[in-house]
Amino acid sequence: MTGLLRRAGQTLLVLFGVSVLVFGIFFATPGADPTARIAGRNASPQTMEKVRHEYGFDRPLPVQYAIMMKKLFITRDLASYANRGERVVPEIMQAAPVTACLVCGAAFIWVTASIAMGTVAAAMKDTWVDRGLMMLGLVGISIPVFWLGEVANLITQNRYHDTWLFSWVPGLGYIPFSQSPLGWFRALVIPWVVLAVMFIGIYSRVLRTDLVTLAGEDFMRTARAKGLSPVRVLLWHGLRTSMVTFVSLFGMDFAQLAGGGALLTEVVFGLPGVGRLTYRALTTLDLPVIMAAVMYSAVFVVLANAAVDVIYLFLDPRVRDAR
């Protein structure tokens, strides 16, 4: 319990550090006037003056930082000037669930598929099944996600949309779960698979390597000497131990995707998630949105990391005692 509390304290500290860093990069870099950046291109002098006062850019840096954090987290009225006063924080809050749905679904697919592939490949080490699966994994890693997405769109939205095979695919975009669960699933299932492909490749290869290495461990030999079946040795002793590595890898990737790393997939499939929001903000140089998105992503990575640490406690008794 105290371990969890300490972990929470550390998380808060890291978040504070990240926010200072992000603020510093955006607003405290010498030689650039943050007012002009916030106000956007070709802003009038009146707007400039208003922004300067509102954000306290005429006051010392710590005050500026405090105002910015207040606008981000407390009053949540950080506004985008490039986009005619659109509130930034609600915008992100609206985009977050879309990203979360996309990433969670993809994560489910890639975890299941890569565990299956990696375990089967390790069990049939050096056979053509193993080689075939690993080759497939390598192909998956090598295919760029935007290309795969475009091809998927080309096939399902265009070429073969009118055939029985793909007539169920809705047009590009997102359908909220609350509106139609089936529509939600139909709209997301192709993006899920497309996003998962590369990770299936990476994870299955990592898992196979890990399982093959573990097969030489003393405890695997003990398990065989106990008279357990090869399947039980592989799953209950090998795979269970491999999960420790697997989860730490997963935590990283999941966090960076949920924090906006699924940008390309979101753009290709027209999903209004955090990634696409960032993409739009980047094209219009909408500084408040970019900063809020970066903050959001940092928060997500740190929180996901903390979550992985907690899962770790359950998976690895050695870590449990080290705290």
């Binding site: 461990e217 003990t222 398990a223 039980r232 002793h237 008794p317 050695r318 005692d321």
Partner: protein, 343 residues
């Protein structure tokens, strides 16, 4: 073997194990034969790389390197184990033949409790409930001298000391009441006091559990303290075999004699330096045509280099693979070594 003696529990004849390397078979174990009677303790002695562990793994059917060749015969209670289908071998493993490994630190799966892992073995071989299995686990842990066995069963391997872990390991090996226990250097990773306790425990097993033990070690002192009979392996071949008393008093092979010389004496003046055997054993790919110990032997002469010497009987059950006894120049008997090593 005389006909009136009962059939041995384990009878190994002409066991050869070859591993493929660079397109050819490299013999690791060559024509090893020995037998182990019921409730007997046999010491398998040799340096690292002499093929002790490979012999044990071959008996257990645990070698699964692709392309490995195991030939000869391993009879366990009259049943041939070489070439036994994996499914039947698995049923024997852990139930009739159990194994203890060298390093108790790494021999348990780190993510499960000790008790869980012992329960698992019991439940793999017998139809018992979870609670029954746990009850037996706790009982055996207690018998192996683990204090507070109920709580220890709920602990993870990393939470136990090396000695406790090795006791738990032995408890796990004994959980299904095996008739044969193969202990592969069970005390090497432990410190000296714990080592003695574990050896005591292993020795007592034949009285308490009726188990025969195949004790693999590189330590002649351990053999002297523990084993009825001794088998000395050198470079994958049998150098000498016989009852421990005879082997220790009348070593027939210069290698055995040299091993005995390297035990530090417990009583009397200690030498400044313990005698060591100069050189290193030959690598398996490059064994000499004659006696494998020849290049390191003080008594080497022309007849040694022609072909590997055959085992020459030296007494009841005692034989050595050396030309010296046949040539009428046997090694002198040793009268002090065993007394020193085993007061």
């Amino acid at each position: 073997m005389p006909a009136d003696r009962p059939a041995p529990l384990l009878d190994v004849r002409d066991l050869c194990v070859g591993f493929p390397a660079r397109g050819r078979m490299v013999p690791i174990v060559e024509h090893v034969s020995f037998s182990l009677p019921e409730a007997g303790i046999l010491g398998l002695v040799g340096e690292s790389g002499s093929g002790k562990s490979v012999t044990a793994m071959a008996i257990m059917g645990l070698i699964d390197t692709p392309g490995v060749r195991v030939s000869g015969s391993v009879r366990f209670r009259g049943r041939e184990l070489v070439g036994l289908p994996p499914r039947q071998m698995r049923r024997l493993r852990g139930r009739d033949i159990a194994m203890i490994f060298q390093d108790p630190m790494t021999a348990f799966t780190p993510v499960y409790t000790i008790g869980w892992q012992i329960d698992e073995q019991i439940r793999a071989h017998e139809r018992v409930s979870r609670t029954q299995a746990r009850a037996r686990t706790v009982r055996i842990l207690g018998e192996m001298g683990v204090p507070d066995p109920e709580r220890m069963a709920r602990r993870y391997p990393h939470q136990l000391s090396g000695g406790l872990r090795q006791r738990a390991m032995i408890a796990m090996a004994l959980s299904c009441n095996p008739t044969l226990l193969i202990a592969d250097e069970p005390t090497t990773a432990l410190d000296v006091t714990v080592q003695a306790q574990i050896l005591d425990l292993i020795r007592s097993l034949r009285a308490t559990h009726g188990s025969s033990v195949l004790l693999i070690t590189h330590d002649m002192g351990v053999v002297a303290q523990t084993c009825d009979s001794t088998l000395v392996l050198y470079s994958g071949r049998v150098a000498e075999t016989g009852p421990s008393g005879r082997v220790f008093d009348h070593p027939g092979h210069p290698y055995t004699a040299a091993l005995l010389d390297s035990i530090p004496p417990l009583y009397g003046p200690r030498p400044d330096r313990l005698p060591a055997i100069a050189g290193a054993p030959p690598v398996p790919t490059d064994r000499p045509a004659g006696c494998a110990f020849g290049p390191r032997c003080a008594h080497v002469h022309a007849t040694c280099t022609a072909a590997p010497p055959a085992l020459v009987p030296l007494g009841p059950g005692h034989a050595a693979a050396c030309v010296l006894p046949a040539e009428g120049t046997p090694l002198p008997p040793r009268t002090v070594a065993r007394g020193d090593a085993c007061p």
